[in-house]
């Protein structure tokens, strides 16, 4: 087993994403959902603008640790422009990855930096918070 260091989890890429405010905003009149990490009280809101089955815009608001913030930002970047169906596929693979199961690498291009999150069991929830909330946001279409 390759030893996973804390440097990989708190890498420059991840720190940059956590500080990047590009996706940290509200999208008015969008599908949204709120998520909460009960173990630390962190909250997040995901906004999706879906047009004809395609996610044309994604964003988030909330506070949380670096892992949860970076994860949210990367998620928004990846799913923007994808169809809802594609986003759901990615979501599935991401959850598998977080559980240390096998997953389809190709589908989650760009998330390699989190590929070893399952080795940090107490942080998995920080990472998956935005993804679970995405699932709800997708279901919240009206």
């Amino acid at each position: 087993m390759v030893k996973i260091g804390i440097e990989d989890l708190y890498s420059d890429i991840i720190l940059d994403y956590a500080k990047n405010n590009k996706y940290k905003k509200e999208i008015p009149a969008s599908q949204k959902a709120e998520g909460k990490n009960l173990s630390c009280g962190d909250e997040i809101t995901i906004f999706l603008k879906v047009d004809n089955g395609k996610i044309v815009e994604a964003s988030y608001l909330g506070h949380g640790c670096i892992i949860s913030q970076a994860s949210a930002a990367m998620m928004c970047e990846i799913i923007e422009g994808k169809t809802v169906e594609e986003a759901e596929k990615i979501l599935n693979e991401v959850i598998k990855m977080s559980q240390g199961k096998e997953y389809d690498n190709d589908l989650i291009d760009g998330l390699e930096v989190f590929s070893d999150i399952s080795k940090f069991p107490m942080r998995i929830k920080c990472f998956t918070l935005s993804w679970h909330t995405l699932e709800e946001a997708i279901n919240n279409q009206d």
Binding site: K36, L38, S39, G41, P121, M122, R123
Partner: protein, 408 residues
């Protein structure tokens, strides 16, 4: 089964001498002896991995959380439940109190509805219902187990469309009678489909392989210390749909979503019902005990119990100075209650211990209503488990004869 010398290695108490005699431990319905591997697992957790669970992110906290949650998974697998349906409690008694209080405060029993229990129950499955019934004005109906033998057909007459909750033991802790839970579930659901069926598994789970899903019961309570695990740990299994509807019972840390001065919202299962720092030591020990039971095989345990019970009943029936209670047929498992004519059970138990090293229980077995049904104040009780062998029963018989000689 393991071979008997393996048991001696695994259970250090079996090597004890009582007044010069080898210990013959026949008080398993009260609590079982403890295997070495269980305490090794507890010590390993306790000395090298202990921390508070679920909250901190440091290494020990992460290890402790994983050990606690994998213990939960092991218990879930053991009875074929979902992980979030396993609530760790301190034992059967707390499990049933949790249920009684929570069903009452969640208003899950409507006016006019009843809770049905029986007079064969252990106090732990009797007094909580009786007292919470009084406190919250809920009607409790008592099925009389006449002469101490449970008759299913009579029982079914007590189940009506008003019966909201049934709570019943899987095995009588006094007579060892095995209650046909599957039959009860089937009949009860015909009378009222959504009746809540609770099984007191304190005596049942250590001896039978149980699948809560196929059995279709709603709640199941049991204790670690009666199945080779430590004291202070037990389980309440509950169907998710019910647990989600129910209000928490104990309030405190670890089970909270948000607390404000106005009110509190509660978090997800199973944590909603696990307020306070949990007994991680106990959970690790219980998981290890379950592992050992699975290795021996629940069906083997069951067969072994049956064989010993049959053998004991045969031998004991030959002693005309004994009065034996219970069905005395193939539906009696691992427990035999009896009295020596005219002799107080305490004297029998004490002498058996000192004369022959045989540990049995004497008293009302926390089942006074059942004592009333039997028309006695107290009984002697022998009860068997995996490490008992036929020669233990031979020594019991030898001891009983000696006691009778002495005291008759």
């Amino acid at each position: 089964m393991l071979s008997s010398n393996k048991y001696e290695e695994e259970f250090p108490a079996l090597k004890r001498k009582i007044n010069g005699h080898r210990l013959v431990y026949l008080d398993n319905a009260a609590t079982t002896l403890r295997p070495k591997r269980v305490m090794e697992a507890v010590s390993e957790y306790s000395l090298n991995h202990h921390a508070n669970v679920h909250r901190s992110t440091h290494t020990l906290a992460s290890e402790a959380t994983q050990m606690y949650e994998s213990s939960r998974q092991k218990l879930a697998d053991f009875i074929n439940a979902k992980k979030e349906e396993i609530i760790f409690t301190k034992g059967t008694t707390e499990s049933i109190n949790l249920l009684a209080y929570s069903l009452a405060i969640s208003n899950m029993i409507q006016p006019g509805e009843e809770i049905l229990i029986t007079t064969m129950e252990h106090h732990s499955n009797f007094v909580p219902w009786q007292q919470i019934g009084k406190l919250f004005n809920i009607k409790i109906k008592y099925f009389p187990v006449k002469k101490g033998i449970f008759e299913p057909d009579d029982y079914f007459n007590y189940i009506t469309s008003k019966t909201k909750v049934i709570s019943i033991t899987g095995i009588s802790n006094v007579t060892g009678q095995v209650i046909p839970i599957n039959l009860i579930v089937e009949k009860a659901r015909k009378i009222r489909n959504n009746v809540i069926i609770i099984v007191d598994g304190a005596q049942y789970i250590p001896h039978f392989s149980v699948d809560v899903k196929s059995l279709d019961i709603d709640f199941l309570a049991f204790s670690g210390h009666k199945m080779l695990g430590p004291t202070g740990i037990g389980v309440l299994y509950g169907k998710k749909e019910y647990l989600e509807q129910m209000s928490p019972f104990l309030f405190g840390g670890e089970m909270i979503d948000k607390v404000s001065m106005e009110d509190t919202t509660f978090t997800i299962l199973p944590f909603k019902f696990e307020a306070g720092t949990p007994n991680v030591d106990g959970s690790v020990g219980l998981a290890k005990a379950v592992e050992l039971l699975q290795q021996i095989g629940m069906n083997n345990i069951n067969q072994h119990d049956k064989m010993l019970t049959k053998y004991a009943l045969e031998k004991m029936k030959n002693l005309d100075f004994l009065e034996i209670y219970g069905p005395q047929d193939e539906f009696q498992s691992s427990i035999v209650s009896f009295n020596m004519k005219g002799i107080h059970p305490h004297d029998v138990a004490h002498l058996l211990n000192d004369i022959a090293g045989v540990a049995i229980r004497s008293g009302h077995h926390c089942a006074q209503p059942m004592m009333n049904e039997l028309g006695v104040k107290a009984t002697c009780r022998v009860s068997f488990y995996v490490y008992n062998q036929k020669d233990d029963i031979d020594i019991l018989i030898y001891g009983l004869k000696k006691v009778w000689e002495w005291l008759k």
